[in-house]
Symmetry: C2
Subunit: 568 residues, 2 copies
């Protein structure tokens, strides 16, 4: 590296030729929120100088175009995009995002440390720089069967990896306030290495927040209101304004960001499906939307780059300055952050889909073919899960249903009451099936099934006909996971998610086609709602968001924090 | 520490009593530049909460007083204060400074690694938190005999100390640009531990700065103009605005600081004598002066605390927030930063002078008594060092002088030409005496002598009479170093500096008395200048600032970068 330092010095002072010089750039200065007109000199993957440069191995004249530092995604679960890391990299780079900090929380719930290792290995050579926060809360509760239970001791080995930056979002803040020993050990391990700990604490009280931050949590991405954001900023916590597929907080928060208080604010998407990334963008969309709501574009870019670098203590990036990564976004237009071209590590990005990727090992859908699809009821007055469109919350919907002569529930499209199953899919020795009744799905026939079921990602299936349930199960087992719509003995559409039942290695255009087919299939089964039933379904098994949820262990009342019978 | 985290959580949520609660505080929020009204809860040395707290082991009602985070001195050489670290700690705390980042560069030039070790050991238990940047350039040049030569390998062992934050100001930037192998190795060592490197690069070019920052230098405190500051900020370098005894840059720079560009700007004193700290203050003075020049007091405080913490990657302090050090300054008045009381680590500071301190070992003034005080000249036309009042630069002053019959120079108060000696004081086997003639000192008789002589800190003596030279030498040897004024066979005044010939363990009030006596002695020897001859003298031996300087090896022309004869 002394040689390397020498090379940087020589190129910076034009004693040797830089590899690349961008001439006539309007450089976005995130340190002072100004535009600096000049050149940018690059050696290998580093910026070695800004100002005036005369010669280089390659010169690109920008003719006065704006250049932004590469954007940084402060917190994202790649799994939620539905595509594997190699393809996620290609997609984000196109949008000017050159670094992403991920929390492989979903795959860890399915495959434990093996899942984390897969995410580390598969991101080893992506063009996009991907850093990892270690999942802190696997499983999210004890009321479900996940594919793994990760204790503090399971995580420590990962901290020595140079791309592991700290501990991932500590969602279990009641556990923290209750002094859960293993949870505190996880925080201790990260803190003693001087690493950061991401937070996730919606609706936490001011004192709870004091405790949370005192314990060592340094960031949060769960602000929905100005008051929540202010509570966190006052206490020195980084706030990641989130704008994903479902949770969208930017509009509510951005008007409160100003020159005085922006130091700790950056952007994240948290969970964003590939279809929305393709349609809108990633962090570039956050920047664009912020500007649209009146924010100074330079400040929006600072939040999307430099502030996120600070939050994650990545001192080698986040700005166009000597000694930092040559991650540069050439813009056609500043106000709309219209990306003209993107340079990662000083090289023009490769937009071609990746054909070379890491295949996941040891993943199977471990569910017997022999499921009993009947839901036996002792009474016809039941509590259905009442689906709330476009919301992770549900109701407890008390209703009367029909029962056949054997005492089995009969789904009814008039009453909008269908069967609902959560089937443990990780452990061949665990045959748990949680049974329930769902109200408000608004389909007339058929079955919808998915292997995405937060947070344990068991198999969730809902619909009418036993044969269709069997076919949907067979189909998802065949593909090692996925999302499917089945009706009248036919598979209408399927998106295979062979990677842990969460992600696919298919090229993005094929994924988009499959998603379109799934949506068309919804029409065939008479779906009349104004929401995504796939997304709604995936969160019916998350037993931390009220009111009524379902896991492989049964129907769960989140407010009572215990299981309940279907019958009232 | 898991127990510790539990305790923080419990105190934050009032499940157990905090040790201390400040009620009714106006809390200065450096994150958003706002005032928050509320309480501050402290457990041991940590803030565990802000907001509303009801009970505690001890409650202090602030009745609406402002509370500032403890200030942070971003860069200081304690040696320049003239007092030892234990007393420096007491003085700075009174001024609301609770953390200081020091570079023991001066003592390292005298005593090498032993000097660094002394500074680490003597600051181990000071109330003031003292962090260390390792001296990078000892000696400053090869044209002087220092007490030590510190190579990269000499420094590496210190990096494991938890209070060592990085590599100290890299003054030798020509060496860096010239790819000095050992210098680059020092940077490499710090960088590979992900540590920061302080800079010092006055008048460096834009490309030189690019190289400097590319190499890994992260801060600079040598800005005198807005243009210099802007060049650095644009490149992501922290700028420490310096306001010390001699170098005062605040007035020139502060008007360019605003809400958009302050992220990277903080304050330092660099070199400030105890008499000035007592008179004006330390970083509190910088804050006060900045406000006086029109800066928002909240922004000035942010620069003096939070920004300095960021610059040095001290994530556990710099703000009033949970999880950070309970370093709190209660203010009587915000605009003038009038300190009412100071809490360090949650405890009211102890303002008593320290009687328990670490004595330095193995330090002696190694100069023979047998110095030849004659300056033999081959011609009466000579080049004198032309002293420039209040400036580190000097002139080459060509003049005619008187010579006795043996060819020896005769000092002459009419011509304002006196003898000047730099005598190697570190190595008993080195009997170097540099001889020269000084013009512009403006004394009529006697001798001034000091063991402070930047950067090698050899003994510097100037004046008229051979017997007085001998007495001055005897005096400083007796005290193991110091500053003295001697005349007509009498010691008129002396400040002993027994600690490496740079610092004294005397109580501050005695030091101030000694300094007053030295100033009175100047009057007795007819001093008629409008500057500090002690300070001027101390910099005559620094062979990196033009034009004519003197080291123990002889008269040195900085522009020619070589030795020259006295005779023209």
């Amino acid at each position: 590296m002394t040689k390397n330092i020498s090379e940087l010095i020589n190129a910076a002072t034009e004693k040797t030729l830089p590899d690349l010089v961008f001439k006539n750039a309007k450089i976005i200065d995130v340190f002072s929120l100004e535009i600096m007109e000049g050149d940018i000199a690059v050696l290998d993957d580093m910026i070695v100088g800004i100002g005036e440069y005369h010669n280089a191995k390659k010169i690109i004249d920008l003719n006065g175009k704006f250049v932004s530092p590469g954007l940084i995604e402060a917190h994202v679960h790649i799994e939620s995009s539905l595509i594997i890391p190699e393809n996620f990299s290609t997609v984000l780079l196109k949008h000017g995002v050159t670094t992403a900090v991920i929390d492989p929380h979903e795959i860890a719930n399915v495959m434990g440390t093996e899942g984390i290792q897969y995410m580390i290995d598969s991101t080893e050579n992506t063009e996009l720089d991907i850093f990892i926060m270690l999942p802190s809360c696997v499983p999210s509760t004890q009321y479900e069967s996940s594919g793994a239970v990760l204790k503090a001791a399971d995580l420590t080995g990962f901290y020595s990896h140079p791309r592991v930056l700290g501990l991932g979002e500590l969602m279990n803040y009641p556990g923290l306030l209750g002094l859960d020993t293993d949870l505190l050990q996880k925080i201790y391990d990260a803190k003693s290495l001087n690493l950061a700990v991401d937070g996730h604490a919606p609706s936490i009280s001011a004192q709870g927040l004091n405790a949370y931050i005192s314990a060592g949590i340094t960031t949060d991405h769960e602000c929905e209101t100005y008051e929540e954001m202010k509570l966190r900023l006052q206490r020195g916590m980084y706030v990641f304004i989130r704008e994903g597929t479902a949770a969208r907080n930017l509009e509510a928060l951005i008007k409160y960001v100003n020159y005085k208080n922006n130091d700790l604010i950056c952007f994240c998407t948290d969970d964003k499906e590939i279809i929305d990334i393709e349609k809108e963008g990633s962090i570039d969309y956050c920047v664009r939307k912020a500007v649209n709501y009146g924010l100074d574009p330079l400040l929006a870019i600072k939040m999307g780059s430099y502030n996120a670098a600070k939050a994650h203590r990545l001192h080698d990036r986040g700005a166009i300055a000597p000694g930092r990564k040559a991650d540069l976004v050439i813009l056609d237009d500043l106000e709309n952050f219209t990306v003209s071209s993107v340079y990662k590590d000083g090289k023009l990005i490769d937009e071609n889909p990746k054909t070379d990727f890491l295949k996941i090992k040891n993943h199977k859908i471990c569910v017997s073919d022999d499921i009993n699809w009947e839901i036996k009821l002792k009474s016809d007055e039941i509590r259905a899960i009442g689906l709330v469109p476009n919301n992770l919350f549900t109701n407890e919907h008390i209703m009367k249903v029909d029962i056949d002569k054997s005492g089995n529930f009969i789904p009814d499209s008039e009453k909008d009451a269908v069967k609902l199953f959560v089937i443990e899919r990780h452990n061949p020795d665990n045959n748990n099936v949680g049974r329930g009744i769902l109200h408000g799905l608004k389909i007339k026939k058929g079955v919808i099934a998915t292997t995405i079921g937060h947070d344990s990602h068991n198999l969730i299936m809902t619909g009418y006909n036993n044969e269709d349930f069997s076919l949907a199960l067979k189909t998802l087992k065949e593909f090692d996971g996925g999302i499917t719509v089945v009706s009248d003995g036919r598979v209408l559409a399927v998106l295979p998610l062979e990677t842990a039942g969460l992600m696919t290695s298919k090229p993005v255009n094929e994924v988009l086609k499959n998603l379109e087919e799934l949506n068309k299939a919804l029409i065939e089964i008479g779906f009349s709602g104004n929401f995504s039933p796939f997304l709604s379904l995936s969160f019916l098994s998350l037993p931390v968001i009220p009111k009524l949820k379902i896991t492989d262990m049964g129907l769960f009342d989140v407010e009572k924090f215990g299981f309940v019978d279907i019958e009232v």
